[in-house]
Subunit: 251 residues, 2 copies
């Protein structure tokens, strides 16, 4: 695909789910590309192939493994128009805004002028709010990965979190406590959105809204029973958010 | 003082320092009032009198004490023009923006349109960054309080932090570690400001800049030897910040 001179390869992680896309972090980039109306092509990459792909394209590592070696993750984009290779959903958002200030027909920006620093602060504040979600989301994800990714995903996540995925999900009384922590985290996000209006910055979505929506998509896709509960939280905020962003959820 | 129809009483906490004002939280409001060019009169209130004053004016509590009872704190403003009584520096900033959208001759806003939610996220992210500062700032503050406040300050802070002020400041090897944590916290704020430009949101200060400046003032005033070190941090960022806000630092 190509339009307006853009020709972006977007590397995402596949699954056995009907819509394929599932990762909260690659969803952020998918929403961003769709929201800006940029033409792109998805290439699906299994977990164990991400490092070789990233090194082959010359992508920068996005973090460090527990053993100190560089970590390579998706999302990753390769913009054939500029030659740029960018990993990390936030860095990709900054790149897209800077490179396509008048994107396609939409003219939409991800990070409104003046809000770059506060977007960084948003991520720093929102990450710990959603930390209790991983103990639910990671074990639920593994059942939907393709066989090629499963063992790699289980091994690397167990290394990072210090517990096997099979033992990660809270049970019994701990479940009620931990799921309430997830709800409380989204409750804080809900309170912030209320200050903004429809979205965090008012009447139109910004990148921070897409960031949240990426996590909500993950819950909806891999934790469908929990999603039935979450749909009722905060006046239906999260179902409404996904519905309003549905035009930008094309896979 | 009165100008432009505003007549605001600003309740601040006194000290034995030459400029009287010292509290990082009341400094945020002082900067805000001065930045917007609003006329106000400072009334100085000793710590042990804050609760009776707040209840007398009908102010809402700003938090909860360790024993579960409501906590009343300064800053507190009483706007005689509207009758409003507002406590908590962030709530005061929102009130001033909403009530005086064309403040005095300045026309300045504290929280630019669309950035209210991200300002909340900023505070949520910045508070833990500066948490290591209190173990230095609180013990250093007590030496500068007036005798009427000293015992109350020592007792309530020890209750909150679970350690006597005299035992709070890190010593020896712990000092180097903890002071580095303070520097690292400001280092993250510096990285965010670099994304913004001169200030967090660009060429003009927003409330989040004044929020940071309140803490920098505290360090400069009660930790003058540490300030000599800090002035050299991050390319001189913090000395430059205070210098650029000096027009709004009038006590």
């Amino acid at each position: 695909m190509s339009a307006g001179g853009t020709n972006i390869i977007f590397y995402d992680i596949p699954s056995t789910l009907p819509q394929n896309a599932w990762s909260p972090n690659t969803w952020k980039t998918r929403y961003a590309l769709n929201y800006m109306g940029l033409a792109y092509k998805t290439v699906w990459v299994e977990h164990h192939q991400v490092e070789a792909l990233s090194k082959g394209l010359g992508a920068a590592p996005t973090g460090t493994r527990p053993n100190g070696s560089p970590l390579y993750t998706l999302p990753l984009i390769h913009d054939l128009s500029t030659g740029a290779v960018v990993a990390d959903s936030s860095k990709i958002a900054l790149y897209l805004d800077a490179t396509y200030p008048n994107a396609g027909a939409s003219g939409r920006r991800l990070i409104p002028p003046g809000s770059r620093a506060l977007h960084l602060a948003f991520e720093a504040a929102a990450h710990p709010l959603l930390a209790p979600l991983y103990q639910y989301g990671l074990p639920a994800t593994v059942a939907h990965l393709r066989p090629a990714s499963t063992a790699y995903f289980e091994r690397t996540r167990a290394e990072k979190w210090g517990v096997a995925l099979a033992d990660m999900a809270p049970r019994g009384a701990a479940d009620a406590v931990e799921w309430q922590r997830v709800k409380d985290g989204f409750g804080t996000l809900d309170a912030w959105i209320q200050e903004g209006g429809v979205y965090l910055m008012g009447e139109t979505p910004c990148y921070a809204d897409l960031w949240i929506a990426g996590f909500v998509q993950w819950i909806k896709l891999v934790l469908p029973e929990r999603w039935e509960d979450m749909k009722l939280w905060h006046g239906g905020r999260w179902a409404t958010l996904l519905a309003s962003l549905e035009p930008y959820a094309t896979v």
